[in-house]
Structure formats: structure tokens, C-alpha cells
């Protein structure tokens, strides 16, 4: 009797903690975001009434939102494209007979496991100040003018993208390396026999065969980078404003600014929700592209 009860109920008991906690702290907030976004909601006043789509209408005409979206997409692009290309080349380099192979692989994982906030502090000093940042001193020593890493929109993107790339290039290289090692070597042998150069083998064999892995890393990077927050916040050193003119304020920083500086919960929820939709749409575009590419073969 007892043991029958045990067999019937145990499975449910075992999965309950997961679904219960996920339901409360994962699913509920996500759905509740929709509700909050349809209301005027402040920190102190609480729910101050249903306003329908007002928050979304406001968002559509909010220059700050569009600027933040532009920054997020811009930083994403200039970070992710070179990052994945570098990672591919690095993986190709490691996919040879080399000495100290394990040491070099470990090197790739080191940035990935370090503290994001700590390294963002270090990098903001490396780029920092008008003259005193390490990089500007290097530029000065070879006779170039210092770069305004924080003041100029695109240079600030470059600085933030560097932090992202420092952290993620090696990680992606490891993923590519794993995929490369499962490519049958005969393919390269045949190419060698046909006299194809290394570079050509890389472009015409390695990259196409790795396509599923490349798309996987693109999707993962998209989901992560659309929520970019830590690096630009610490780099800015001025709260969630993202520079004097918001030149590197990301969407996630805007959510924080609306939540904490202006205590506009309803509007912040609307921005979050739109950000979520953008991530989903970008994911779908990735999937669609993938199936298109596959279908073309």
C-alpha cells in the first residue's frame, strides 16, 4: 500500500520544486509584465489605473527608446561579427597539431569565467579618461591624438564591444573547435589533393560544414547581447544614463532608468516586453534563415 502510493506520487513530488519555483519566479513575472505594462504604475503609488496601450504609444514616440535600441543593435553588430570571425579563425588555428594545446585551450576559457563586473571596471580604466587611459597613452606614444572613448558614440560602442569580445571570443572558439574536430578529415585530404589552399579550405569547407554551429552561436549571442547591461553601466560610471547624451545607453539600461530613477514601472514593463518581442523576432529570423539556407542546398 505504502509502496504503491510512493511509486505513484514520487515522480510528481520530485518535479514539483522545479515547476513551483519556476512558476512563481519565472513564468509569473513574465506574464505579469503584460499586465503591468497596461497600467500606470509607480513605486510609491502602486497601480494607478488601467491605461491601455498608452505606454506602448509613448514608447513608439520616445526618442530615448529608439536611441537605446539603436545603441543595443549597433553594439551587438560591431561586437558579434568580429567576435565570431575571430573565434572561427582561432579555432582553425587550434585545430592543428600544436604543442601546449591544452594550455592554449585553457587560455580561451579564462576570460569566460572571470567576473564581468570586475573586468568591466578594469577595461573602463584601460579605455578611460581623455589622456590617462592605457590605450590613449599608447596612441599618444606613437603620436596619435587621444580618443574620446566615452564622449563619442561610436568609439564608446567600440570600447564596450571590446569588453564583450574579450569575454566571449574564446568561448565561441571552443565551441567551433569541438565542431571542427567532428569534421571528417578525408574532406581536407581530398581538398589537399585537388590543390586547394588553406584559406580556400577554410572558406569552402570549414565554414559551410560548421554552419549549424555558427547559427547556434549567433542565436545564443543574440539572446545575450540584446540584454546588454553590465559592461555599459560600469563603463559609464554615471548610473543608467549611458554617457552624457545616452550615447551608449542600452535598452536594458533604459528599463533600469525608468524603473529606479523615474519609478515608472508601467513604462519600464512595456519596454521590457518590447525587448522580449525583439529577441523572439530575432530568434525567429535566425531560424527562418537557417531553414532557407538548408532548403537552398
Amino acid at each position: 500500500m505504502w509502496s504503491r502510493l510512493d511509486i505513484r506520487t514520487s515522480p510528481y513530488l520530485f518535479i514539483t520544486p522545479f515547476f513551483l519555483l519556476f512558476g512563481i519566479f519565472g513564468l509569473f513575472p513574465l506574464l505579469y509584465t503584460v499586465w503591468v505594462s497596461l497600467h500606470d504604475w509607480s513605486l510609491i503609488g502602486g497601480n494607478e489605473g488601467f491605461v491601455g496601450l498608452d505606454n506602448f504609444v509613448r514608447l513608439a514616440g520616445d526618442e530615448k527608446f529608439w536611441s537605446a535600441l539603436y545603441n543595443t543593435l549597433g553594439i551587438f553588430t560591431i561586437a558579434v561579427v568580429p567576435q565570431l570571425l575571430l573565434a572561427l579563425m582561432l579555432a582553425d588555428t587550434l585545430n592543428r597539431r600544436i604543442r601546449f594545446a591544452n594550455l592554449f585551450r585553457m587560455t580561451l576559457v579564462l576570460p569566460y569565467i572571470t567576473s564581468v563586473a570586475a573586468l568591466a571596471i578594469v577595461f573602463s580604466v584601460v579605455f578611460g579618461g581623455e589622456q590617462f587611459g592605457l590605450i590613449n597613452q599608447v596612441l599618444g606614444s606613437i603620436g596619435l591624438d587621444p580618443i574620446s572613448w566615452q564622449g563619442d558614440r561610436y568609439w564608446s560602442w567600440a570600447a564596450i564591444a571590446t569588453m564583450i569580445d574579450w569575454r566571449w571570443t574564446g568561448y565561441n572558439a571552443l565551441i567551433y573547435l569541438a565542431a571542427m574536430q567532428s569534421v571528417p578529415k578525408d574532406v581536407y585530404e581530398a581538398a589537399d589533393l585537388d590543390g586547394a589552399s588553406r584559406a580556400r579550405q577554410f572558406v569552402q569547407i570549414t565554414v559551410p560544414l560548421l554552419r549549424p554551429t555558427i547559427i547556434f552561436t549567433v542565436i545564443i549571442s543574440t539572446i545575450g547581447q540584446m540584454q546588454l547591461f553590465t559592461e555599459p553601466t560600469i563603463f559609464g560610471n554615471n548610473g543608467y544614463a549611458g554617457g552624457t547624451q545616452g550615447q551608449f545607453q542600452t535598452v536594458m539600461m533604459l528599463v533600469f532608468q525608468e524603473t529606479f530613477d523615474y519609478q515608472n514601472f508601467g513604462y519600464a514593463a512595456a519596454i521590457s516586453w518590447v525587448l522580449f518581442l525583439i529577441v523572439v523576432v530575432m530568434g525567429l529570423i535566425n531560424v527562418w534563415l537557417t531553414s532557407r539556407i538548408k532548403g537552398a542546398e
Partner: protein, 305 residues
């Protein structure tokens, strides 16, 4: 009957990243392409670029603030570490000691909890028969795609309702389970635990929990270590949510170094870098002890994805 009487199952997580096998002799062309000096140049450059920021962080942490703006950069540690550490722990705006303790407590608790609940659920989904098993398995996979950060505002409202804002449990309880963890454990149980073993334990009169505890869990150790480490790292590193829900007087270590970063009017780089070093220290230890397993785990995950 105990686990030792059967043949030990394959344990993929034990393996080092597999080296590509060399071709048998006499096969014509070489399998692995040869490295050139350029290869080593590229690898050494990568090594320097990866290590330099960390090394420089530690160097400045042992010197005075002027070292941070020195050119060419200081490359060797100085003698100021003790002084910096002293100032760090007595700095009023950062509450560094509290932050450090909070991070240790939160990361350890979350890691232990994720390992326990995820292996429990993973075991149930892999081996136990019950109605809705297929549905729940799919549901777990779907939760992995849900970006929790999006629910920031409602989660904050929820914390207000619970009266948890500013308290340490607010950075612990929401992260005590993970869909990724359940999925990882389920896959591992499927690969390592033979059905016969469970049957035998059942016949011996073990309760389901007893089977989990005495038969399954010991076999899961490698997966538990990996999941525990990854979760510890993630929790230790967590910044966004801590910044949202905690207050400067009760921070985590990442929050606390951000306080150092923002509060200093003439920025005290030596102090900031000492804090940053402490905020990275446990991760560096993990790297030195388990780096190889982590490399294996990342590469293995890539193949299965």
C-alpha cells in the same frame, strides 16, 4: 545490491576533450595539419590578450593608484596589497565584507539547491513512469528559452509583496532551480543509470527517494560537479538582479565593487582593482582547479547542441 556489482557505466563528463586521433601509419596524407610559426604567434598573442587584463588588475591591486595611469603599464606586483586590502574592508560606502559574505552564502546555497532539485527532477523525468512525463519534459526545455530578465519589473513588485527587497533571499530563492540543470541531469541519468539497477533496488524494497539518494546520486557525481560549478560561477557573477533588488548596505560582491566604482570622486584605482580582484578570486580558483573539465563541458555541449 549495490552499484559496485554491475559494470561501471560510461561517464562522458569524466573524459577530457578528446584529441583528434592521428591517422594510422601508411595512410598517405597527414590527418592533422601542421602548425606554422604564424600559428604560434597567433596563439601567443591570444594568450597575452586574454591574460593581460587580469594580470594588470592584480598588479594594480598591489600598488598605489598612480600605477593605473602609468605608462608603460606596471607589470610586476608592488608592495601595497596589505594597505589596499585594509582600506577595502574598512571602506564605508562599499560594505565590501558584507558583500563578500553575501556572495559566498548565495552562490553556495544556489549551487547546492540547483544540484539537488535538478537531479531530483531530472531523475524523475528520465526514469520514473508517470502520466504527463512527456509534457513535463518538453515544458522543462521550453523554460530554458524564457529570458527571466524580461520579468524584472514584476519580479521587483513580487519582492515587495513578499517583503524581500534588500534581503539576501531575494537573490537566492528565484534561482534555486534551473531548466538547463534539469535537462542536463535528465540526459546524464539516461546515459548512465541502467534500468536493471533500479529494478533491483526496487525489489530490495527501496523507496523511490532511497533509490535516488543511494543509487542514482552517487553515479551522478561528475554531472553534479559540473552543474554545481557552473551555477556557482553564474550566481557569483550575477550583477543585474542584485543591483535591482539589493541595497548598498547589503550588497553582493559585484554590487559592492560597482559602489567603489561609482562613489569615488577622485577614483581610487588601487582600491577598485583590489575589490575587482577579490570579486574574481573564487572564479580564478575554480579555473585553476577545474579549468580542464570546464573546457570539456563547453566543447561537449557544443557537439550535442
Amino acid at each position: 545490491m549495490t552499484a559496485t556489482t554491475i559494470e561501471r557505466p560510461a561517464r562522458p563528463h569524466d573524459e577530457r576533450p578528446r584529441r583528434p586521433r592521428r591517422r594510422r601509419s601508411g595512410g598517405g596524407l597527414r590527418r592533422m595539419r601542421q602548425a606554422t610559426p604564424l600559428t604560434y604567434f597567433a596563439l601567443i598573442l591570444t594568450f597575452v590578450l586574454s591574460v593581460f587584463p587580469l594580470w594588470w588588475m592584480i598588479v594594480v591591486a598591489t600598488r598605489t593608484t598612480t600605477a593605473a595611469s602609468q605608462f608603460p603599464p606596471a607589470l610586476l606586483p608592488g608592495g601595497n596589497l596589505v594597505d589596499n586590502v585594509g582600506r577595502l574592508f574598512t571602506n564605508n560606502s562599499a560594505n565590501f565584507l558584507t558583500g563578500l559574505m553575501n556572495s559566498i552564502i548565495a552562490s553556495t546555497t544556489v549551487a547546492a539547491s540547483v544540484v539537488f532539485f535538478c537531479s531530483l527532477a531530472g531523475f524523475a523525468l528520465a526514469k520514473l513512469q508517470f502520466k504527463g512525463r512527456g509534457f513535463f519534459t518538453v515544458a522543462v526545455v521550453v523554460t530554458m528559452a524564457v529570458p527571466v530578465q524580461i520579468g524584472l519589473v514584476p519580479l521587483l513588485i513580487l519582492m515587495d509583496w513578499l517583503n524581500w527587497r534588500g534581503d539576501l533571499q531575494s537573490v537566492i530563492v528565484p534561482f534555486m532551480v534551473s531548466g538547463f540543470g534539469v535537462f542536463l541531469m535528465r540526459q546524464y541519468v539516461l546515459q548512465t543509470i541502467p534500468d536493471d539497477l533500479m529494478e533491483a533496488a526496487r525489489i530490495d524494497g527501496c523507496s523511490t527517494f532511497r533509490i535516488y539518494w543511494s543509487v542514482v546520486l552517487p553515479a551522478l557525481r561528475p554531472a553534479m560537479v559540473v552543474l554545481g560549478l557552473l551555477t556557482f560561477m553564474q550566481t557569483w557573477n550575477e550583477f543585474i538582479w542584485a543591483l535591482a533588488v539589493l541595497t548598498p548596505d547589503n550588497p553582493t560582491v559585484q554590487f559592492s565593487i560597482q559602489q567603489l566604482n561609482e562613489s569615488a570622486y577622485s577614483r581610487d584605482f588601487a582600491l577598485m582593482f583590489t575589490g575587482a580582484t577579490f570579486a574574481t578570486l573564487p572564479l580564478l580558483i575554480i579555473f585553476f582547479v577545474f579549468g580542464r573539465q570546464l573546457v570539456g563541458r563547453i566543447m561537449e555541449g557544443a557537439i550535442k547542441a
